[in-house]
Amino acid sequence: MKKILPVDELARDSRFVRARIEDAITDPRQARLAERNTGSAKLEPDRPAAGDRARQLMHGIFVGEIQALEGAGRTTFDFDDEEVPFQLKLDMARQCWDESRHCEISVKLAEHMGTEIGEFTEATFLYEAACAPDPLLRLTGVNRALEGLAIDVFNTMKEFGDSSGDPVLAACEDWMLADEVTHVKMGSDWLRRLTETDPERRERALEFQRTVDKLFSLGGFRGETDENPIQLARRFREMAGFSSDEIDELSEVATEAQQEARAAAGLAPSS
């Protein structure tokens, strides 16, 4: 079996249509939309098109879960026992089990919201970030950055479920959120253990995490203001082993990404 499987070889049936980040960036409507005052972007029931926004996000979560499963699965296989402790691989195998369950839950949640598999496109940048050749970069890029994003997304969706009075959405997201905290904690713990005597390697891995975090802030997708649909979940990140300084830094990275996106669209910085 091939090691380090490229993204274009992922198994998908005809329902799945790939999207590229570039498609969104070059869509002329994005700049026009940014010029319009659409009010708070936070996902709340009283926001315009809240239902369809939640449905699209749920589909994004579903395809993200597939890729998280594929990413964790690759890490159990791509490295031998000299490169990666067997116990770490066991943790990744446990994560695969969790992600498989999340896929099933996400499909059912999507059905509950009236969304079909493949109704929206699949962006594969999550899996692409999970293909780093260095296992340590996978711990920071995937377990800490991407699973950290999952904490933010699930917490946002859980709050949406609570505020919209949807008991099914709220309960399922809360359940999955608990798993994501564990996945991030595994990344935090293994990063510390594997770099105990090598601070330079740890710093390189954390630098990769910062890059992925910035990418996944997606020009204002995540942050701590009303302009961000996905809110940074500080409390759960602390439970997952992030320090306050790290969370502050992530918040700054998100703001930076948002300002860069506004500048690219020819807009003034937001306050």
Binding site: V17, A19, D23, A24, D27, P28, R29, Q30, R32, L33, E35, R36, N37, T38, G39, P45, D46, R47, P48, A49, A50, G51, D52, R53, R55, Q56, E111, H112, M113, G114, T115, G118, E119, F120, T121, S164, G165, D166, P167, V168
Partner: protein, 206 residues
């Protein structure tokens, strides 16, 4: 002048064709029972992408006035592309609702922008159920989710949804009363604002 007018006449941000939309509208207006002598004006805001859906259906000076976000006609799998089955359903629903407004049954209904989210979803449910029976490709589960968002995740709301979906006739007072019953059974606090995409996105940036 043509009975159906589409604005803009040429789309520059999305791959929609005003002629195609006008043709579909003519066909669906006949199916929906909009009288032949009533003009139909359709405005499409092509700047609004998925998932920023939104639509209004009113009658202004005796003409049907429909407004749509471009998102309502967009293919979720292919950005900026026209999704004909989805567009047909959206147009059919709005024409059916405009037809309701032209009848005595909905004479007392406020303009779309003044409806509550719950009333709006109830009317859309009544319209989408009829569109399904006209043979259009509808999305019942999506509609039920949107209905529940604004009328409650309760048994009362689910029963109201079933009644609206299967009804061929309804009146504004009946619809208003049904929504009031849903609100009475809904344990959530009353919403702070309405989710009207058109009002929000037409705000000036100043």
């Amino acid at each position: 002048m043509a009975r159906v007018q589409i604005s803009p006449e040429t789309f520059t941000l999305v791959e929609f064709d005003a002629g195609v939309i006008a043709g579909i509208t003519e066909e669906l207006a006949a199916k929906a029972g909009v009288p032949d002598d009533v003009d139909i004006r359709i405005e499409i805001d092509e700047e609004l992408p998925l998932p920023l859906t939104g639509a209004t259906a009113d009658v202004v000076d005796g003409a049907v006035a429909l407004w749509f976000a471009g998102a309502n006609f967009e293919d979720g799998r292919h950005r900026t592309k026209f999704d004909e089955p989805v567009a047909r359903t959206e147009l059919a629903m709005s024409l059916l609702r405009a037809g309701d407004r032209l009848s005595d049954r909905f004479a007392a209904a406020p303009d779309d922008e003044d409806l509550t989210d719950g009333q709006r979803q109830a009317w859309d449910t009544f319209a989408e159920g009829r569109a399904a029976r006209l043979g259009e490709a509808t999305r019942r589960v999506r509609r039920q989710y949107l209905f529940r968002l604004y009328n409650g995740f309760t048994d009362v709301a689910d029963a109201a949804f079933d009644r609206l979906w299967s009804a061929d006739t309804f009146t504004w007072p009946e619809l208003e009363e049904l929504c009031a019953r849903c609100a009475a059974a809904d344990p959530r606090p009353q919403p702070k604002a309405r989710a009207a995409v058109r009002k929000e996105t037409l705000k000036s940036t100043g």
